[in-house]
């Protein structure tokens, strides 16, 4: 008995010393966990925490545990700058986040100068166009979402569109892309309306659209205000098809809008419609596992925002596994990474493309009986 105990103790000691011997790998993260973009930042933080637990429980990366340092910038650009400086100071190998496009744009000059890889969870094209040496992003690009919507409109033989967008970075960027590609797809924009991020009513804008000959409405926003558009549209008895952007990637939005969300069409990553995907889809395994793990742990629905966090985090983990905590090597690894299966799609990064996704990463989804499914 005593021998057994001794052996056990010895074994523990050995294990403990090997763990101590392996330096932890430090990953930094800046998310808008509180503040106006909290709805986006919180699932990202949760995802990063969950993945760290999972990887460390499985023995870390090549024996090195992950030390995750999460900073909350409250969706404030000045704070994002401070937090990134802090993370650089903490000697992290790479940074994931920030959540918002504005926050990302604010920290780009710092990470470029400090030469530290940053994988942003924000969507704006400006982040990776023109290409910045140290900056990558995981969400799909607006232009591809626009293309998917216009293609679908062509299929449906619709040529006149009315645009609704929020006056946020996401909304404005989408609005520009919608206008830019309209001509190419033979679409006429008959109305171009905006609303503020905290606006409570959009009937005025929609009434104006009702007075035009628009055949479809395209609503571009990422924050909860977008649900009001659907509710007001239903209230006004407008029956034309409504397209949403990939910012609709949260089942909560569909639930909040209730009946009004039925039949809404939106291009999005496949995460939300994982149940209706065929088993042959190469992403299905990753998506199903992430969704199951997340919903079991946090007792709340998964969203594409958390998915962007997942992609950014796993990309950095893969890099660490392959090349260790060397910032320059991590950057090179990500830039040359091909066929990385994430939640938003299959990423193929290159020196010219730091987004890594094309329009095939989108699936046209719709809301049917309160559930998000692939549109037929």
């Amino acid at each position: 008995m005593r021998k057994l105990l001794l052996a056990g103790a010895l074994c523990l000691f050995v294990c403990a010393s090997t763990v101590r011997a392996a330096e932890p790998y430090k990953i930094g993260a800046v998310f808008a966990v509180s503040g106006p973009a909290a709805l986006l930042g919180e699932p990202e933080r949760n995802t990063a925490l969950m993945l760290t637990d999972q990887i460390n429980a499985a023995g870390g990366i090549n024996g090195h545990p992950i030390e995750l340092i999460i900073e909350d910038n409250e969706g404030d650009e000045a704070k994002a700058v401070m937090k990134v400086k802090k993370l650089i100071n903490d000697k992290v190998a790479a940074i994931i986040g920030p959540t918002r496009s504005g926050d990302t744009m604010a920290v780009i000059p710092i990470v470029e100068k400090a030469q530290i890889p940053l994988v942003s969870c924000a969507a704006a094209e400006d982040i990776v166009k023109p290409v910045k040496k140290w900056v990558f992003k995981t969400p799909q690009s607006d232009a591809d979402a626009v293309r998917r919507i216009y293609e679908k409109m062509k299929d449906m033989k619709l040529t006149k569109a009315a645009i609704m967008s929020g006056t946020t970075g996401f909304g404005t960027a989408g609005r520009e892309q919608l206008k830019k590609f309209a001509l190419e797809y033979g679409i006429t924009i008959v109305a171009d309306e905006t609303y503020g991020p905290k606006d409570t009513d959009m009937t005025a804008q929609l009434t104006k659209i009702k007075g035009t000959d628009a055949q479809a409405i395209i609503n571009w926003e990422i924050i909860p205000a977008q649900t009001t558009v659907m509710k007001n549209k239903k209230q006004l008895g407008m029956t034309m098809p409504l397209f949403q952007s990939h910012g609709f990637g949260n089942i909560k939005y569909a639930q909040d809008a209730g009946d009004a969300a039925e039949g809404v069409l939106f291009p999005c990553g496949r995460l939300l419609a994982v149940d209706s995907l065929p088993d042959t889809n190469p992403q299905k395994a990753v998506l199903a596992k992430y969704k199951k793990d997340y919903e079991e742990k946090f007792k709340t629905d998964v969203s594409t925002f958390g998915g962007h966090g997942y992609d950014a985090y796993m990309l950095v983990v893969e890099a660490l596994r392959a090349v260790g905590p060397d910032r320059a090597k991590i950057r090179d690894f990500i830039e040359n990474k091909k066929g990385f299966v994430g939640t938003a799609g299959i990423f193929n990064y290159s020196a010219e493309d730091h987004c890594g996704l094309d329009k095939n990463s989108f699936e046209m989804l719709t809301v049917k009986n309160g559930k998000i499914v692939v549109a037929k």
Binding site: S34, A78, K79, K85, K86, N89, M105, G169
Partner: protein, 318 residues
């Protein structure tokens, strides 16, 4: 005499000059840069509120206007920094003059709402004119400040620039307060009627101080824009105006050091509290509440009272 009056700021300057050598940590240096920028903005607002007794809830607009003016000129039109700075000051002062002339006829809460509305209109315009300002996505790629071939391109250099500007403005402000104008201002604060009766041109004085404080805010904004090299309409948000006002009240209104103290506390506190995650907001609110409830004169007055009490005790014993 003048020397004695400026002794504290000189000592402060020496301390500020040595500090970065002691902590060459970019994170803390970055925070100190922000504290310096906020201190400059609060100094102007303090002059307006603490000395002239006029409230403004629109100062974030001037802060953003300053940042956008030099930002757009240097980033988009390749103008040199100094001419761009001059343009920024002229533009902000002009807009502040118009707003001041219109709003300063109002008093108390009415003035607060008028300045708030003016500030919000600036915010909305910055958001909506996408072609010029970049809209809500912001304006990126603002170059570092370059004066006579010397580029302030690191936090270390920028720290010295910000605090040098701060000390210069501090001495300037202290001189204004101790001049005829300063006495007129304090008179204005206690009674406008009495001030007018004493032959002070109340309207002109109020507008002058309003414009001056707007220029301080614009200078702070310029420094912010060039230190972060990015600016978005968020900087002209109403909440930022409220934050500046809170800094002054917490630090000590009508006390030149109050603004610095408030800026330092309100910048450092959230950093220190960030470990509390979701509890941060509630703890931050509580600390603010306790300070304001128990030190209504602000931290600066609190320190003074403490100093006087200790002095009395020591003397009483001797």
């Amino acid at each position: 005499m003048a020397f004695r009056r400026h002794l504290p700021i000189m000592l402060f300057g020496c301390a500020a000059a040595v500090l970065p050598l002691a902590l060459k940590d970019p994170y803390y240096l970055g925070i100190l840069v922000f504290i310096g920028i906020f201190s400059i903005a609060t100094m102007g607002l303090n002059l307006l509120m603490g000395y002239a007794g006029q409230i403004s809830l629109g100062h974030a607009a001037f802060y953003a206007l300053g940042a956008y003016a030099t930002g757009i000129l240097t980033a988009k039109y390749n103008v040199h920094f100094l001419p761009a700075l001059a343009a920024a000051i002229i533009v902000t002062a002009g807009i502040a003059y118009v707003i001041g002339m219109a709003c300063l006829r109002l008093k108390g809460h009415y003035l607060a709402v008028a300045t708030l509305a003016a500030g919000e209109i600036v915010f909305i315009c910055l958001n909506a004119s996408v072609g010029f300002t970049g809209g809500p996505s912001g304006l990126a790629g603002i170059p570092s400040i370059e004066i006579g071939g010397f580029s302030f391109d690191s936090d270390f250099k920028f720290y010295y620039l910000v605090w040098a500007v701060f000390i210069l403005l501090f001495i300037l402000t202290a001189n204004i307060i101790n001049s005829r104008t300063g006495r007129a201002l304090r008179c204005l604060h206690s009674s406008e009627v009495a001030a007018a009766a004493m032959g002070i041109n109340v309207t002109t004085l109020k507008v002058q101080i309003f414009v001056l404080s707007a220029v301080y805010a614009a200078l702070a904004g310029v420094l912010y824009g060039h230190s972060v090299t990015f600016i978005s309409p968020q900087a002209s948000d109403l909440m930022f105006s409220v934050k500046l006002l809170t800094m002054i009240v917490v630090g000590g209104m009508g006390h030149l050091w109050g603004g610095v103290l408030g800026a330092a506390l309100l910048t450092l506190l959230p950093e220190a509290l960030s470990a509390f995650h979701d509890y941060e907001l509630i703890i931050y609110g509580s600390i603010l509440l306790v300070i304001v409830m128990f030190l209504p004169g602000g931290l600066m007055r609190g320190f003074e009272t403490l100093y006087v009490t200790i002095l009395k005790k020591v003397r009483g014993r001797g």
